[in-house]
């Protein structure tokens, strides 16, 4: 492998992904870190901090919490390095297995897809753990033609990795279906081989999945987990199966594919599929057809898993970014050859439309979106005062009220005593905890647990108790969130119709600060002058 080429690939990936290091906090990221903090401080997940993700989601964030102590910039740097390593790893793997161009294009396509997800869709488990898919690809390719005796350990490891991946998000377990179908179609083996292979794989899978559920050994945690699963049932079903709901899902998903994945990448995917069909007679573990075929099966299974979830959020499709980027690597390579051939023609009636099409595809590719994302590090480093303005769009999305979050954080930081506690009440803006420095006593990651349509009595009691314990309360007033609450009331509107909670707040708290989207309450006493 040529060192200069590797350096070029690395530098390009580092450059493209760089904006991630300056991304703003997001709600899910804050929830992961609060979960990790609960664990590190000796608390129990689903008991002391309740959210809807599997246990491994919070445990896997413990190292990040320990390094960063929820400092957003450090977390984002860690995220940046994870994505860089994934993209570079992908590029080098394909450089070795196929060729440099495919490796380079894949790494660049992956980097562009990740960085243009932008906030609030960045830092999701699917993205962070995408490197597991590369490991699955490498292992599956290596053991494809080997005897079971010689590859027992690797099969077990493959199962364990899939088990871990499944434990992060259960629907991603469909990757197994992709692998199974690929093996059935392309492995020329007897039934007994498949039986042994998949029994070993299942052993690794089950062991790993069970290890990921180890925290549930604790009785309290287990009961909390059961309560959460019951709540999750409503969350999962918030998108119905009726025609209007499916219509909404298909609209979101179509928009994701056309807008975020982009027209240019759709066309590149078509180029890759045509290439794959052309090479259908040349299947062998040593050639590009193998990688391309395996990627098509994995991408299909992972996209299917996102479709099954029926949410249509962009980050749900990011689980398929590794196999899709491989497909894109081949496709972009083919597309470049196609356009080069057209441009070789000296006829005006060919070159002009070709140039127009290239420009069109360039504009409707993640590259143009990347230039918009590139503003983030520029503003962060050279015009920091306007940094929060970049993300402030509450009219488009209630949780993008970053200017207000910053103001509230600054107010609390300058008007509070050490040792005071804060309670946050919102549905989707949990990142407010990263803007202030007090101890967070939240038991719930969002207000849907006590103001949603499917709450538990004990959760409501816990919430009322928390109201009595807090020194500061931060309430969002514009955060209608149907997926969390199963209604369109904001947290503040729900609070206003809750006479018990209002009585506690009115008797114990004063509203001391407000922005357009957030109210801040403090225990009845004089607000201090800035001392800290």
């Amino acid at each position: 492998m040529n060192t200069k080429k590797i350096i070029l690939l690395t530098l390009l990936v580092l450059f493209i992904l760089f904006p991630i290091s300056t991304f703003i906090p997001t709600s899910d990221l804050a929830i992961f870190l609060q979960g990790a903090r609960t664990i590190v401080n000796g608390g129990k997940i689903y008991v002391d901090f309740i959210d809807i993700k599997p246990p491994i989601a919070y445990y896997s964030m413990v190292p990040i919490y320990l390094i960063s102590n929820i400092d957003n910039h450090i977390v984002r740097l860690i995220e940046y390095f994870i994505h860089c390593l994934t993209a570079i790893g992908l590029g080098l793997y394909l450089y070795k297995k196929v060729n440099y161009k495919v490796g380079l294009f894949s790494a660049l396509a992956y980097s562009l897809l990740v960085v243009t997800l932008n906030t609030p869709e960045s830092f999701q488990l699917e993205l962070i753990f995408n490197f597991l898919i590369i490991l699955i690809l490498i292992i599956h390719t290596n053991i494809f033609n080997k005897e079971i005796k010689k590859s027992f350990g690797l099969i077990l490891l493959e199962g364990a990795i899939i088990g871990l991946y499944f434990s992060l998000k259960y629907t991603t377990g469909l990757i197994l279906l992709g692998l199974l179908l690929f093996d059935i179609f392309y492995k020329k083996k007897k039934f007994s081989y498949f039986l042994k292979y998949y029994l070993i794989l299942a052993l690794g899978f089950i062991t790993s999945a069970l290890l990921c559920l180890l925290p549930l050994i604790d009785n309290q945690t287990f009961n909390g987990y059961k309560d959460m699963l019951e709540f999750l049932r409503y969350y999962v079903n918030f998108v119905g199966t009726d025609i209007p709901s499916i219509n909404v899902f298909l609209k979101y998903s179509s928009l994701y594919f056309v807008d975020k994945f982009s027209i240019a990448f759709i066309i590149a995917t078509v180029f890759a599929i045509i290439l794959w069909l052309k090479g259908r007679e040349q299947f062998s573990t040593n050639n590009k057809q193998f990688i391309l075929t395996l990627s098509i099966f994995l991408a299909s299974a992972l996209i299917l898993s996102a479709i099954i979830e029926r949410k249509g959020f962009a980050y749900h499709y990011s689980r398929s970014y590794i196999p899709l980027s491989i497909i894109l690597g081949f496709g972009i390579n083919e597309m470049v050859v196609y356009f080069k051939n057209r441009l070789k023609q000296k006829h005006l009636n060919i070159t002009i439309p070709t140039i127009i099409i290239i420009l069109f595809l360039f504009v409707f590719s993640p590259i143009s979106r990347f230039f918009a994302v590139l503003r983030i590090p520029i503003v962060y480093y050279f015009n920091n005062e306007r940094y929060y303005d970049l993300f402030h769009e509450p009219q488009n999305n209630p949780i993008l009220n970053y200017r207000d979050k910053k103001k509230v954080g600054d107010f609390i930081n300058t008007h509070s005593y050490p040792g005071e506690t804060v309670l946050t009440m919102n549905a989707g803006s949990y990142d407010i905890i990263q803007f202030q420095k007090l101890k967070v006593i939240d038991k719930f990651s969002h207000s849907g647990f006590y103001y949603g349509s499917h709450i538990k009595d004990k959760w409501r009691n816990d919430y009322l108790n928390q109201l009595k314990q807090a020194d500061w309360i931060i309430i969002q007033v514009n955060d209608f969130n149907f997926s969390a609450n199963a209604h369109f009331r904001t947290t503040y509107e729900s609070l206003q119709s809750d006479s018990v909670a209002m009585e506690i707040i009115n008797s114990r708290f004063d509203k001391v600060f407000e922005t357009e989207t957030i109210y801040v309450y403090h225990k009845k006493q004089e607000i201090n002058n800035p001392t800290h």
Binding site: I243, N247, S253, D259, V270, H347, N349, I350, P353
Partner: protein, 396 residues
Amino acid sequence: MKAHHYILFVISIAFILSPVIFFPPSEIQTKYMTEGIAILQGNFQSLHNTSDLSLLSKIVYGGIGIISNTNSFTARIIEFFIHLLTAIALFFLVKKYLTKSKAVLASIIYVLSIVLLNYKFSFQIEPLSNILIIALIALHLKRDNINSEGHINTNYSLGNYLSLLLEGLIIGLILFLKFNFVFLIIGILAYDILFLNINWQKIIKKYGTILAGFIIFAALYLFILKIERFPNAIASLFQSITIPHISFTFIRDFLKDFAKFLAYIYSVLFIIALFYSILNWLKNLENYSKDIKSMRLFGISFYLAIAIILSFVLYQDFQFNHIASLFIPFCILISDGLVEIYHKFINVWGISKFSYKFVLVMFVCFLLLFSPLHFWIYYMQYPFIYLIFHNYAVLI
């Protein structure tokens, strides 16, 4: 095609288009018809100098308003027939230059696109004017007698001049309906210069005749307005327009909105078909003389589409209804793309192993899921809601 085939074809596209009849009335529709009727009845006080509609457009809406007696259901029926007629005209245009199957598909895609525009936008002047774009393409292609080397013949016959004049008249009609359509002229000019490589002398000769047609239309129109004693006729000839310029904020928003249009109306399947057709056309241009007729239709569709997209950017005015001006060129290209993809699919299917067939079926399922089919099924609720509930509130 036999007579019963035509009948079946018309019934099919009428069925696909049927939700249009049951679309709820839109605010714009009522406003335009009221304004138009007032003007036709001589109430010129409602004639504002600055409006988002040109005088001729208002007259068209007024005409529909009078025929329908401002009944929104009857107005929707008139709208339905205009779109149906456009789809049939598109069928004959595509059939002449491509194949019957592509022509049928182009009409189906056109009526699907109209339904997917939905009730707020389907009755706007852009979709209603699409029949004129078909006429423009038909006339422009008809005149160009291309020789076997792909070059335009030098001698114009009387018939050529008459068709150029007619083209000028249609351009006049289009421009007075909406001035933004001026970019269509840039499209056909780009087609003549960049695609057909016509030299400047011939361009001047050709466009001089078109200009004469335009002047005849403008003179006739102004003459009628004069006779009818329209006040401020000149000032209200065109809708209020912005001077074309570049704004990066608009371009950013436009890119998002344009992607949204493509996603909501054409979805993934039709976008693939659109680009498949364009890229295939570019490839086939290397053997230009092979299929001159189809190459020309794709050429003019391509340049018209580019000119229309350019007009969105330069006028800084982009609403969902504006996109309807792209329907004719896009339907031509998408129908070609779909048929070509289908042929490739059949070829590959015949010689592939089961594993490849399995993946192909998977792709087909994915593309059908992300095709406009589901959106159309969604809009098929309208007839039932209208007939059963008599109340569109259930949709909200």
